[in-house]
């Protein structure tokens, strides 16, 4: 055991000291922070727009549009002037406004043609015509003003109609095992679940590749023979899997810690920038435990497969070709997760929980969604643990049989004979 521990230490340090690890450790939280903060930072919040409304209807519609722009400015600050051109002068007024916009004295002008209430098209000529928030605010303001004008023309009080059409308050909430409504919305919980699934999928993919590459490099540069004169191949493989796995878990722990810090301060920070933070639901402690346990079990399961594939490979190209054998079940688990989100207690979810190659994603997902009873979690954990042990055992023997082989990959029949004979 102590020799395995020596290898675990070496592999851990060899992984955790690389630039790739450092970059990955920083990059993960950066993605998370960016997801929360960047939309607010890049939203152009608080920018001012000077807009002229040319009211060709001469019916007060321009004032309505200006008032509406002030009411719902979508984070921008509009300053408006309304011009009602004398009959026959609209074109010259528009031309003059176009000159002012081109010179930067105004940001744009809205043209409300005389036939607007009956179907003629309004227009907005602007310097920032691709700014979706600005264009959206103007379109919405024109829309509302015209709708209200039509209602008044039909003898309907717009305020009465608005009140009648106001949406009923509605929110989606998860229910925990005790029948209490969870604080966070169902949508937010789905978002957290997707992130959790992505983290498992990508981390296993990334570090599984690391394990395979490490084995292959050890084999290619022949250091493996010196090491094998001191420890058994199974010990070397286990040390590699657990050492690289430890570095992986450290990185994820750092990500989680940073995520917790960001979420603690995100509301204040983003609020100061004029943005809104999506509400982050609290994950029950039991779900967190299930998540960590299945993540770790799944990691070791797939890492053992990657290690065996690395030992089998006789060249870099060969290793790449064989990666698919590990990636396929992982991808199935990943895509299965989206079906499980729609029906987390359905037959797909139950089957996915009991298959060890998919349970590493399906069970934590259902736990976060509060949709798996312990009567399914515990057997799933037992099956995953047993499969993990059996895979490490078989992979260790494949490792021993093939780690020194060069030239031609041994046949499956020969590998099977070796696995059975030791």
């Amino acid at each position: 055991m102590s020799r395995t521990w020596t290898i675990v230490k070496r592999e851990f340090l060899a992984t955790a000291r690389t630039k790739g690890f450092l970059i990955g450790t920083l990059f993960g939280p950066a993605i998370l922070a960016g997801w929360i903060l960047l939309p607010a930072l890049f939203a152009d919040g608080g920018a001012s727009r000077e807009v002229v409304v040319i009211d060709g209807t001469r019916s007060g519609l321009g004032d309505e549009v200006a008032a509406q722009l002030l009411r719902d400015s979508q984070g921008l600050v509009f300053s408006t002037r309304v011009v009602e051109p004398a009959p026959g002068t609209a074109d010259s007024v528009r031309a003059a406004m176009a000159v002012l916009a081109a010179g930067g004295e105004i940001d744009g002008y809205v043209w409300l043609p005389p036939g607007l209430p009956t179907g003629e098209s309004a227009s907005y000529d602007a310097r920032h015509s691709t700014n979706m928030r600005e264009v959206g605010a103007v379109r919405s303001a024109v829309d509302d003003a015209v709708r209200q004008a039509r209602l008044r023309a039909a003898g309907i009080d717009p305020a009465t109609l608005t009140e009648a059409l106001r949406p009923a308050p509605f929110e989606t909430r998860g229910v925990d095992g005790q029948g209490r409504g969870a604080a966070a919305s169902g949508e937010a919980m789905i978002m957290v679940s997707i992130i959790a699934v992505f983290v498992i999928y990508f981390v296993i993919l990334l570090y599984g590749n690391n394990v395979q590459r490490g084995v292959r490099e050890e084999k290619e540069n022949r250091v493996v023979e010196i090491v094998l004169s001191s420890v058994r191949a199974e010990q070397l493989m286990a040390g590699k899997v657990f050492g690289i796995g430890g570095a992986c878990l450290l990185q994820v722990a750092i990500w989680v810690a940073v995520a917790a810090l960001v979420s603690a301060f995100a509301e204040e920070l983003v609020g100061s920038l004029g943005g809104q933070v999506p509400s982050i639901p609290a994950i029950p402690a039991s779900a967190a435990v299930v998540y960590v346990a299945f993540f770790a079990g799944g990691f070791f399961l797939y890492a053992a497969i990657y290690a065996a594939l690395g030992a089998l490979a006789v060249s870099g190209q060969d290793a790449q070709n064989m990666q698919f054998a590990a990636m396929l079940p992982l991808m199935v688990a990943f895509f299965m997760a989206f079906g499980v989100m729609n029906d987390p207690e359905g037959p797909l979810a139950v089957a996915g929980s009991l298959i060890p190659f998919t349970s590493l994603i399906v069970v934590p997902l259902r736990a976060i969604l509060g949709a798996i009873p312990w009567s399914q979690t515990l057997p799933a954990a037992a099956i995953l643990a047993a499969t993990c042990w059996a895979t490490l055992w078989v992979a260790g023997r494949i490792y021993r049989a093939t780690i020194l082989a060069t030239g031609q990959r041994p046949s499956l029949a020969r590998i099977w004979r070796f696995v059975r004979s030791t």
Partner: protein, 313 residues
């Protein structure tokens, strides 16, 4: 009486349809310097891997220091493999500390030993450099240190001189001499017979996975003696060499400049050969019955059976 350092009986190892080692017996006495000679593909490396339990034998028994080669015994063996490599992105001292720890030496205990060895082989100033920054010869020195830093009772050196320049070859020979004086058992695997002859007191010659010659070097030579004649021609002429080659007493001729080393045919009398050459007018300044070199023994026992290079491991 203590058990032999290494005792192998009836060892057999196959790779698919190829027999790498075929019923090998090998007895390496404690404190001996033992040469395992053989052409490429004769089964040397497979034998070594089996006694280190890097590979499992298909049949036969292997005892090292009187025990099957389990973890405890393996700590008492140092190994320099033929196909050498180190972790390129580790530092020099780190990689040696790691390999010593795998042999059961804690970092605190291995540090002074490692520093001493680095000093001795002229790499003390490179202790904190990455391995990948060292030349091939320097890396080979590190691998040698890794093989001896835990002060093993048995040191196995597989082609230790390959890749070393003459100065470093001499330095390595001196260290091996020290290990001999310290009564360590040294197992040399090599196909360079000169090294084996100069350093070893015992030898086994392998051919196609079988031992064709085994025993003390002196005894092996004596057993093959009486059949070898050394002679020097004066003047050296092509007709004189042709006359030597044509003599019915001569089975094989090895030429080295004006000197020839002859292997006599079975039952041939060296005196009859001398008479024949003098009668034929071949000018001789030396004619002596000599003890054969290991090279000659090797060629006699293996040379007539060509081995395909790299056929086996």
């Amino acid at each position: 009486m203590s058990s032999p350092a290494i005792e192998i009986r009836g060892l057999r190892k196959e790779y698919g349809d190829t027999v790498a080692v075929d019923g090998l017996d090998l007895l390496v006495p404690r404190g001996s310097t033992y040469a395992l000679l053989g052409p490429n593909g004769s089964g040397k490396t497979t034998t070594i891997r089996t006694l280190l339990r890097i590979q499992e034998p298909d049949a036969g028994t292997v005892l090292v220091l009187g025990e099957p080669p389990g973890p405890a015994v393996r700590d008492r063996i140092g190994y320099l493999p033929e196909e050498r490599g180190l972790y390129p992105r580790m530092k020099v001292r780190e990689v040696l500390t790691f390999l010593a720890e795998l042999k059961g030496i804690a970092p605190r205990a291995s540090r002074p030993r490692i520093d001493g060895w680095l000093e001795r082989v002229g790499l003390a100033e490179r202790a904190n450099d990455l391995v990948q920054g060292l030349s091939k010869g320097m890396q080979q020195k590190l691998q040698f240190i890794a093989a001896v830093v835990h002060e093993p009772e048995i040191v196995i050196l597989d082609e230790p001189f390959s890749g070393l320049d003459p100065i470093n070859q001499q330095a390595l020979r001196e260290i091996v001499g020290e290990l001999r004086r310290a009564e360590r058992t040294i197992l040399f695997s090599t196909h360079i017979i000169e090294h084996a002859e100069r350093l070893c007191d015992h030898v086994t010659i392998l051919s196609r996975g079988r031992a064709v010659v085994a025993g003390e070097v002196g005894r092996v030579k004596r057993e093959h003696g009486g059949r070898h004649v050394g002679l020097t021609l004066d003047p050296w002429t092509p007709p004189a060499v042709a006359a030597v080659r044509a003599a019915p007493e001569v089975a094989r001729v090895h030429e080295d400049g004006h000197a020839l080393e002859l292997t006599l045919a079975d039952g041939a009398d060296p005196r009859a050969l001398l008479t024949r050459l003098v009668t034929a007018g071949v000018g001789l300044v030396r004619f002596e019955v000599v003890e054969p070199s290991l090279q000659q023994v090797f060629i006699d026992r293996v040379g007539s059976k060509p081995i395909e290079e790299g056929a086996l491991v």
